[in-house]
Amino acid sequence: MKLGVIIIQVLFLYLFLFLGAAVKEIIPLPIPASMFGLFLLFLALCLKMIKLEWVEKGANWLLAELLLFFIPSAVGVVNYDEILSVQGAEIVGLIGVSTIIVMGMTALTAEKIMGRKGGKQQWR
């Protein structure tokens, strides 16, 4: 029963994906169809054209199992010999260093802004 609900709701989300693809045909911006679909669904929810309950279970399932959909591409790594070589190890190192910097900078920026807001509130 629960599975049926999820399947129907996922199909409903596909409908928005197709609508997004249609919008992409009309508006020639370098934005993917799925992003247009996201906007359309968001708009439909805000304008109360559709109810949250119609998509919530399907959306929650897709987001909870997001990692599953990456697995086939991850298996595809073996098609790139270079990734499995010395250069591959270097790239992993590069991504590691860059990711640490990105996370650190983002966290510090947000923390600083929040700290300022908190500080202001204390002054009041």
Binding site: P32, L66, F70, P72, L94, G104
Partner: protein, 233 residues
């Protein structure tokens, strides 16, 4: 028939590694590391090529489309929070995406990555479906970009908690934004372990990072790559 079998097998192995990771949270048991390794081993045993496997499991990859659309639901549910923190989110994520592109570019130059790799690695810190689109727009190889996005996710999921701890980050918004910005969906998955607020900010970070990187893909990356070519010549 083969397709159904492959999908069921992939799902079971995914469940297995997710359970194992949930139980021991040992980094190498990460579902995006353990599951693909087991699957590569299995398809090798039954003489299926990776390309055939990817073709047979394409419906799973296909679900990334509606999964991206599905992000409208958490955005809608958290509209009040977004309105309250919109400034913090935009400033942090704009800065984060710039740091991601420039640090990746700089380090890639340092390693003398070849052109295909260099251009495909630039959109690595955003969610796969959008990263693929950015990669196509700027002339990269989508499969290669996917691989870099996944490596980013796995590494980000592992180093994220250490970064948060060593910088003594306190607020849920900073923790969530850092995880979503640095490691997209995988980071958001990690943020769920911290709490609901962290997970919300992480998925918001991921969405905003994708949107802002779409802009950078048109504005910053092409001149950066041109500069790069002149430098070589």
């Amino acid at each position: 028939m083969e397709m159904i079998l492959v999908i069921i097998l992939t799902y079971l192995i995914y469940r297995l590694s997710k359970t194992a990771y949930g139980k021991w949270s040992f980094p190498l048991f990460h579902p995006l590391l353990l599951a693909p390794i087991l699957l590569i081993f299995l398809i090798f045993m039954v003489d299926m090529s990776a390309t055939q496997y990817m073709h047979n499991s394409k419906w799973l990859t296909n679900l990334l489309g509606p999964a991206t659309v599905a992000f409208a639901v958490p955005i809608y549910k958290n509209l009040a929070i977004i309105k309250k923190y919109i400034g913090t989110i935009i400033v942090s994520i704009t800065f984060g995406t710039l740091v991601a592109i420039f640090s990746t570019f700089g380090l890639s130059k340092l390693l003398h990555l070849k052109y295909d790799f260099l251009i495909s690695i630039l959109p690595r810190s955003i969610t796969t479906p959008i990263a693929i689109e950015v990669s196509k727009e700027i002339g990269g190889l989508p499969t290669l970009t996917t691989v870099f996005v996944i490596i980013t996710g796995v590494i980000g999921g592992i180093v994220g908690p250490t970064v948060i701890k060593s910088l003594a980050i306190k607020t849920p918004i900073a923790k969530g934004l850092a995880l979503g910005m640095g490691a997209h969906g995988v980071g958001t998955n990690k943020a769920m372990e911290y709490g609901k607020q962290e997970a919300t900010f992480s998925s918001l970070a991921m969405i905003f990072a994708a949107l802002i990187t779409l802009i950078w893909g048109a504005v910053i990356i092409p001149p950066l790559m041109n500069m790069n070519i002149h430098h070589i010549l």
